[in-house]
Assembly symmetry: C2
Homo-oligomer: 408 residues x 2
């Protein structure tokens, strides 16, 4: 008899965005005349940079001609892209990452979800709360937790991110082995300072722990005191894997390209304590279960690093950052406490209301769709997330509507 | 301390194609003047169909304009592609598969590698020998085997495919729960008849087992007595998942698009014997660890189902089938026994020689790169695989060279 992986049944049933969509559909069915502004899901809205479009077309044309046709590429990604990444994203910031430490993939979600396969099933996992649900769910599916109780899984160490600690995960009381960090953070928009990251790197080195650093939103950082990569922190190469994406940087959410950095110095251990190269394990996983990213997509991603691409990407990010600043200032004028929105496309808004009630209120009264914080974990209660991924016109409209209902 | 998944260390070190490439590099270093013909790895060489190129460009242009821009798509794939697949690949052959039973992905290798996550770690897995290594390795990584002994993993049930049984896997003596079948087969090129597939479906139904049917090469079938989909076999929807790919069908090895079919009727079981929808489990896996296939790639794949696309794909496959027939007939004229090459791009050649010795002989004497059968399992010994994925001119040249050295 073919038996299922019963850990799947521990997953909590309702998926956040499915629940949001259901409430929105019901609202629209009842009020077909009302036009909504979506500031919910973190999806880009502006077109791809011209440099990417041009490179994309050129690569497609290469596939139309037997002389320039390419079949299977290297599973880890083409050298042209890995070299451009090493130079543009790391050497340019003083971080010594080599092309053969970079693994191109079709999404940071996939990488972040798959990476835990490399580790034993009885490791102790630490995650922030609120958190991107993929970190949690993939560990549940792998059997690293018990059955959920009151929205939390026994076996996980939750690092509460609250107004009191500035939404920054604090070092845990007990030992942990695998630590998920995300900065600029999804959902809170908060950033970790150089000193906070150094403390985590020191912790990992002292405890032979491993940090999974999700930097999908690094392109939104404009504050020069903040690092863009964890490898700007001394010692991080021994204890950290970094995840990056072209999704939010260059509008690739529908195009699909990302990468993981696994430095050669990064080690995990056998039960007997012998060090093992994590890069070698990931290479094995990547070459066994993955077959590389579409060639034209890799060419489009490479174009992000051209002079034209860099200018266009900066303009693109500036556009969303202007939205984010507008949202933050508008909400603060309404007397709402919030973080994020300066080095991040997300604004995390505190409220006395229950977060789903606040979501429903904004949907029903203002016609604005946000994301209820409770969907990201217990500490997300009494918060909502506002995304700056929309047109400036819609952002202005949404803020005006919220101001009208809150101040009515 | 961050501990590794020690099952990774059970994987046998040398990867087949890495070993081949090493031998070829050494040969080329010693004989820089010798030009090689590659009939090794199963990678296409002909350009993409025009219909796909046109659709690909059009979709890239949509991403250049805010009015037609698309961000995240459905993880399961766009409806336009799933509907085209359901109609073109299934309804057209009398198989009732609905669009919501189709999951678009970036590769059959990924799907075939990931699917085993849905099942318990103590299920009994049956694989053919010789076999596509991904079936084996992904189960080793998941801890379903012991340490390899003499090239085989305790815990797996091997189904020997030999000249004596026409290279067809036979029903096992003892019970098994998960069965990997591939037809037309990689590496042997052999096909399973309707009756043989019916016997496997009946076995699975009687034993509550599940069949993973890899049909990546179905487009090469020209024999009307053979099925293209396992869902042409009565009862298969209850007990089979099918994997398809655009890689070999339409030259997408570098473009990356494939799909899995998981019928709603397909069930697996809890330890207590309660049925669970496999489609629901795969939906959860797919939406949690995957973020959909590149939008322009899905449009290019959709174009395969247009009238122009169907004509072009048929021409493309005919090209490789002409190569395959040429190889098969040439080898038979040399007195070599072989299968495949009629409904498959692969020809599986029997030999008295050790398979790596035969590989080295063809490399050194004829300048032809093939794949040694032993790389696919114990039963691959005394065989080599010849791939028809090359130009007709190169195929002719390679056969002439082999004839010259064998008959010298």
């Amino acid at each position: 008899m073919i038996k299922i992986n019963e850990h799947y049944h521990k997953l909590q049933a309702s998926y956040l965005f499915a629940n949001i969509n259901k409430r929105v559909r019901e609202f629209q069915a009842a009020h077909p005349e009302r036009e909504l502004v979506w500031l919910g899901i973190g999806d880009v809205t502006q077109p791809l940079p011209n440099a990417c479009i041009t490179a994309f077309h050129k690569a497609v044309d290469e596939l139309a001609d037997a002389r320039t046709f390419r079949g299977y590429g290297p599973e880890q990604g083409y050298a042209f892209l890995r070299e451009a990444i090493a130079k543009g994203d790391f050497a340019a910031r003083g971080a010594d990452i080599q092309p053969d430490e970079i693994f191109v993939s079709d999404g940071a979600k996939c990488d972040v979800g798959n990476i835990q396969e490399l580790f034993a099933s009885d490791i102790r996992v630490a995650i922030s709360d609120p958190v991107y649900p993929v970190y949690v769910d993939t560990n549940v599916m792998a059997g690293r937790t018990g059955e959920a109780r009151d929205g939390r899984y026994p076996g996980l160490t939750y690092l509460d991110c609250t107004p009191e600690n500035g939404y920054a995960p604090q070092l845990p009381d007990g030992p942990v082995d695998l630590i998920y960090l995300c900065s600029p953070n999804n959902p809170t928009g908060a950033t970790l300072s150089r000193e906070q990251l150094q403390a985590w790197v020191d912790y990992a080195r002292e405890n032979r722990a491993l940090i999974l650093f999700d930097a999908a939103y690094e392109a939104f950082i404009r504050d020069d005191s903040l690092v863009h990569s964890i490898y700007e922190i001394p010692g991080a190469q021994d204890v950290a894997i970094e995840f990056r994406s072209f999704s939010k940087t260059a509008g690739f959410t529908g195009v699909r390209c990302a990468y993981a950095v696994v430095p050669k110095r990064c080690m995990a251990y056998t039960a007997a304590g012998a060090p093992v190269s994590v890069r070698d394990l990931w290479t094995r996983r990547h070459t066994t279960k993955f077959n590389g990213v579409s060639y034209p997509v890799q060419r489009a991603a490479e174009a992000v690093y051209s002079a034209e691409g860099q200018r266009e990407v900066r303009t693109l990010i500036d556009y969303y950052l202007r939205n984010a600043a507008y949202v933050r200032e508008a909400l603060q004028r309404m007397g709402l406490a919030c973080v994020g929105g300066d080095n991040s496309p997300y604004i995390w808004v505190q409220s006395d209301r229950d977060s789903w009630a606040f979501f429903d209120y904004l949907l029903n009264e203002a016609g604005v769709v946000c994301t209820p914080g409770a969907g990201f974990g217990r500490c997300g209660e009494h918060h909502i997330r506002i995304s700056a991924f929309n047109s400036f016109e819609n952002i202005q409209k949404a803020m005006q509507r919220i101001a009208d209902v809150l101040q009515a």
